[in-house]
């Protein structure tokens, strides 16, 4: 009888009129594509959320505004920047690195295009992994199915997967190379260097932020020059490993040329922050904490925005914007660090 009632309960619940969904197929495709390129863990979002929730509560009392006397250790940690660990010295004809996203612990992804289309990618991840006949297992994450040995690459064993070439490029550091053909995968893998071009920043964050650090750096590559176009700031305890989705308790700074997309949201309030005219808007995320968006459409020749996700923040989006020093549109004048 209980089984019967249970079945009827489930049936009745399944017949309920559902509310409008917050789930998005487009977002799933976009995120999946991005993660597929990076070959990054798909199951870390929940534990990360756990860590973020607990740690955000723990650090909320100690973070907050810029202070004048951070400890040396805290300052050192907060100013550690994620950087690219691999860079291709050879790419198939017509292909170029156009953007990159770097997290700490050697986790990064390089997007490579040909014309306007994504043509390849190089991703890295860290950790001890074991390869079986069917998959490569790295902690809770696995890649596969493996389709055989790809031979030795710079002294390390490589494996073919359905989408590309997996190999250990250094002890417990793995790379995932994906190009249209396997010969291309192999040749790119054998021509990787650990000397990526230095990234230039169009802005600097002034003041001391002992409790916060740079979680990720997004960069683009124009005429061989690497320029930062997005950095994500998070509590120091939240810097590793990278957060996936949904964003929570972070502030991101985006910078691009005037006219970049997406444009500023003009329907919010108009204010002057840090001497720049900005639009301040709140974006509803349908049930989760809203996003605060502070955006200047022309700040010394740049479109600059800071946007915050969540309510347990180490600093608000306006506060971060108020501490930005901008260097104008000429990359030749940009510094190599986002801290000033």
């Amino acid at each position: 009888m209980l089984e019967h009632d249970l079945s009827e309960l489930f049936e009745s619940q399944a017949r309920e009129d559902p509310p409008p969904t917050r789930a998005s197929l487009a977002a799933a495709t976009r995120r999946g594509r991005s993660r597929l390129r990076r070959r990054r863990a798909v199951s870390i979002a929940a534990p990360l959320m756990a860590a973020m929730t607990v740690l955000a509560i723990a650090v909320v009392g100690t973070l907050l505004t810029p202070t004048s006397a951070p400890t040396r250790a805290a300052q050192s940690q907060s100013r550690r920047l994620p950087s690219l660990s691999l860079w291709p010295l050879w790419l198939p004809p017509g292909m170029h690195v156009t953007s990159a996203l770097a997290y700490h612990q050697h986790q990064e992804n390089l997007s490579i295009t040909k014309g306007d289309s994504l043509a390849g990618s190089i991703g890295t991840f860290s950790g001890p992994c074991t390869a079986s006949q069917s998959k490569l297992s790295c902690g809770k994450t696995s890649w596969g199915p493996l389709e055989g040995l790809a031979g030795m690459i710079n002294g390390f064993r490589g494996y073919w997967s359905a989408s590309g070439l997996l190999f250990e490029w250094a002890q417990d550091r793995w790379a995932d190379v994906q190009f249209p053909t396997r010969p291309d995968d192999l040749r790119v893998a054998r021509h990787l260097t650990m000397h990526a071009p230095p990234i230039r920043y169009p802005f600097q964050l002034t003041g001391s932020w002992p409790g916060a650090g740079v979680q990720s750096v997004g960069s683009s590559y124009v005429h061989g020059r690497a320029v930062a176009d997005a950095i994500t700031l998070a509590p120091v305890a939240e810097l590793n490993p990278p957060v996936t989705v949904p964003f929570q308790d972070i502030v991101q700074v985006d910078v691009g040329p005037v006219g970049s997309t997406p444009p500023c949201i003009s329907s919010g309030t108009h204010e002057v922050i840090n001497g720049y005219h900005v639009d301040v808007a709140w974006i509803d995320r349908h049930g989760t904490d809203p996003i605060q968006d502070v955006c200047a459409s022309d700040a010394d020749g740049l479109l600059v925005r800071s946007h915050s996700y969540g309510t347990r923040l180490f600093a608000s989006a306006p506060m971060v914007f108020a501490h930005l020093r901008l260097f104008g549109p000429d990359p030749a004048k940009w510094p190599a660090t986002p801290f000033g």
Binding site: M1, L2, E3, H4, D5, L6, S7, E8, L9, F10, E11, S12, Q13, A14, R15, E16, P18, P19, T21, R22, A23, S24, L25, A27, A28, T29, R31, G32, R33, R35, L36, V42, S43, A45, A46, P47, M49, A50, M52, T53, V54, L118, P145, A162, S163, V245, G287
Partner: protein, 186 residues
């Protein structure tokens, strides 16, 4: 190739989203978390799409992703946070049947995730023990023990004397969907 893959995935998911969402709602007993679960499961499905598309039963493969995502997520402590909502409580008309239905719903909500998942797979998706074990990635013995424990917990929660039918009969013509493992829609 990538475009084909994306189109194939989009076509499939567009057709299956409503059914998967209903299954997620039964697992989570909450639409908000169901949407979060569905979002995560769709992303995971995209990552494994080449394998899912080649599977003998793609629906069963995708359902397994959703159920395992649910069990994995619920292991993490953040999901034990109190869920606040601006939705009004469901109105329940006075009456013994409705009260019992609400009691049963409350009891189901209090079950551990794996037990709840087993019961949903067995008594909503009509899976047998072996099929439920495949979906959960565990042994048939585990499914049996989790089913027994789940039912025992429900009986205890419902109190002595429970055993008479309490809910209105379901619409037997209600549309069947992926969560029951039937053939895909044309």
């Amino acid at each position: 190739m990538r475009l084909d893959r994306d189109n194939e995935f989009t076509d499939y998911m567009s057709a299956r989203m409503p059914a998967l969402r209903r299954l997620a709602r039964l697992l989570c007993q909450d639409w908000t978390r169901a949407d979060d679960l569905l979002q995560a499961a769709m992303t995971r499905t995209y990552l494994h799409w080449s394998k899912a598309a080649r599977a003998d039963n793609t629906d069963a493969y995708v359902r397994a992703i959703l159920v395992r995502q649910f069990v994995d997520d619920r292991r993490a402590s953040w999901t034990r946070r109190v869920s606040l909502t601006d939705q009004p409580m469901e109105a329940v008309a006075p009456g013994t049947d409705q009260e019992r239905a609400l009691d049963l719903r409350t009891a189901v909500t209090s079950l551990p995730p794996r037990q709840r998942a087993v019961l949903v797979l067995r008594y909503f998706c009509d899976l047998n023990v072996d099929q439920a074990a495949d979906a959960l990635g565990c042994s048939p013995g585990t499914v049996k023990s989790q089913t027994a424990r789940g039912l025992a917990a429900l009986r205890e929660a419902m109190g002595p004397g429970y055993g008479t039918p309490t809910l209105s009969a379901p619409d037997q013509n209600a549309s069947r969907d992926i969560s029951r493992g039937e053939a895909p829609h044309a």
